[in-house]
């Protein structure tokens, strides 16, 4: 644990994971790697298996085949809370705040992973809220704050666990471009200052292009392309199946 109060970033290796749902293969032998301290995106059309892949990394689903490794330590078979303790923080595609708890307490739950002292947890939670620009809403209940703020709350709660790897599931969806830019800046700064490894699922290409050094493209449960954002967006397969014929930028 470093002096800045965060943990060393970790690398992620996904090795041939497969998930079948009664005959449908949602994720089919997907393999990719995320280097420690980098930001990588996982993109693909709806139903491509992105969230299923996330759920297998975070332990919400067990892969039928394959392995997931955080710094060479296998995560398969561990419960979601153990994986969280191991250093994987995540957000949910559809926000899942603790509705009857104030914003600050929501985030403090995350910090209790590494401390038993509730005051210390609250203090760190406040730091995270400050980082996300939510500190003045700490007494509010999640139901009374805006959707972008609730997205920030999810991120703050995940960051409070002091993750070595942060999984972001469409946190930019539904945000206005200025809000997206603000969020992008927060992640970029967090990555730069603490070296946090980030894997994000994102449809907002503006964010993908701005943030990620590498992009993995999924379609029908398979990896169809991998590379820098520029390479991927020039890939004919990607253009065909995911983006349609139109160029993006």
């Amino acid at each position: 644990m470093s002096v800045t109060g965060v943990r060393e970033p970790a690398g992620l290796k996904v090795e041939g994971i497969t998930k079948r749902f009664s005959g449908l293969t949602a994720v089919d032998k997907v393999s990719f790697e995320v280097e420690p301290g980098t930001i990588q995106a996982l993109i693909g059309p709806n139903g491509a298996g992105k969230t299923t892949t996330f759920n297998m990394i975070a332990g919400a689903l067990q892969p039928d085949e394959g392995d997931v490794k955080l710094d060479d330590r296998s995560l398969v078979g561990m419960r979601p809370d153990q994986i969280c303790r191991a250093g994987v923080g995540r957000t949910f595609q559809i926000v899942r705040p603790f509705n009857e708890l104030p914003v600050l307490e929501n985030v403090a739950v995350g910090a209790l992973v590494w401390t038993d002292d509730i005051d210390e947890a609250r203090a760190y939670a406040l730091e995270m809220l400050d980082l996300l620009g939510l500190a003045d809403r700490r007494e509010a209940f999640p139901g009374s704050i805006t959707l972008p703020d609730r997205k920030c709350l999810e991120v703050a709660r995940a960051l409070a666990t002091k993750p070595k790897l942060l999984l972001l599931d469409e946190v930019m969806a539904g945000l206005r471009p200025t809000e997206t830019d603000r969020m992008v800046e927060i992640f970029r700064r967090r990555n730069r200052e603490t070296g946090l490894t980030i894997l994000l699922i994102e449809h907002v290409m503006r964010a993908v292009m701005a943030l990620s050094s590498r992009v993995v493209v999924l379609n029908y449960g398979k990896v169809i392309a991998e590379g820098t954002p520029e390479e991927v967006t020039r890939d004919p397969d990607v253009l065909h199946c995911y983006l349609g014929a139109e160029e993006i930028g």
Binding site: D81, C84, R96, L101, V109
Partner: protein
Amino acid sequence: MMKRLLDGVSPRALVLLAAFAAALVAAPYVASPYVLSVLIISLYFAFVGQAWNLMIGFAGLLSLGHALFVGLGAYTSAVLFIQFSIEPWAGVCAAIAVSVLMGSVIGYLGFRFSIRGVYFALLTIAFAEFTGILVDHSGWLGGSSGLFLPVTHGNGNNVFMLRGSQSMFYYVILFLTGAALVLCRLLVSSKLGLYWLAIREDQEAAEASGVPLFRYKMIAVAISSGMTGIAGVWYAFYYNNLFPEATFSTAQSIELILGTVVGGVGTLFGPILGAFLLTPLGEVLTGLTESFDIDGIKTFFWGLCVIAIVLFRPGGIWPWLSGLLDLDGRRRRSQP
């Protein structure tokens, strides 16, 4: 610890709480034996209600079989006393152990196999009902004709023997209720409590934030069933008779929790307020039943009570009342 206990509690609430506590402490000196007996039953329901509230109100685990733990505590301590002359101060340890063990078995089955919500409630009902049937058919436990504790007169008050005057039983249950309030307050303002609330709000999100669901749910069930077992010991020695049907039935379980539902699930003071509202009302209604000979009016009225609460005060009376009296600070439900 004092800081944790009082942090965020408004002075106004403290004054009212102190006045309420003082009135309760003074009650045996002024109240008639009848009024005192009503207060005793109110406190009993308040205590069990707090234990039940730990599970449903804080950890979101619905038990509709809490009479089981009262019964286990009562029968364990009574049998130890009758058959082996083991006194209640020692019997209470066995009673807690048996209740916690049974709670843990139910919890293990429920949580290992991910039985949630009403299905978990059904599991608690099933265990309460079949334990009742077992006791009903056990001659050693008195069977359906009941188990009776020998009553001795004129030996003065002995708290460790749970033998003495009505006032002594009153102070014992008052102490238990007060201790439960302090315990609940400490728990809910700790890591344990925040983890429970997170589980109550959203299991998956809690688990993804590092909350070990199984362990924390088991702790909730263990504490709740243990507390309720203690109530059972008090119950056995206060009433001196135990009948399986009356002790373990689902109707009994419902009666135990009704006050808390009316007072406010998930609040610290709801179980106490609810018990002090419903018990005297129940007494009045029982009186009406006797004078006008209308059977079932008490049950009927309590049904109306629940409907009224669900319709008009879905969160219970306490959140509304404390808002009215301006008692709750900023934190609703989580730190009432």
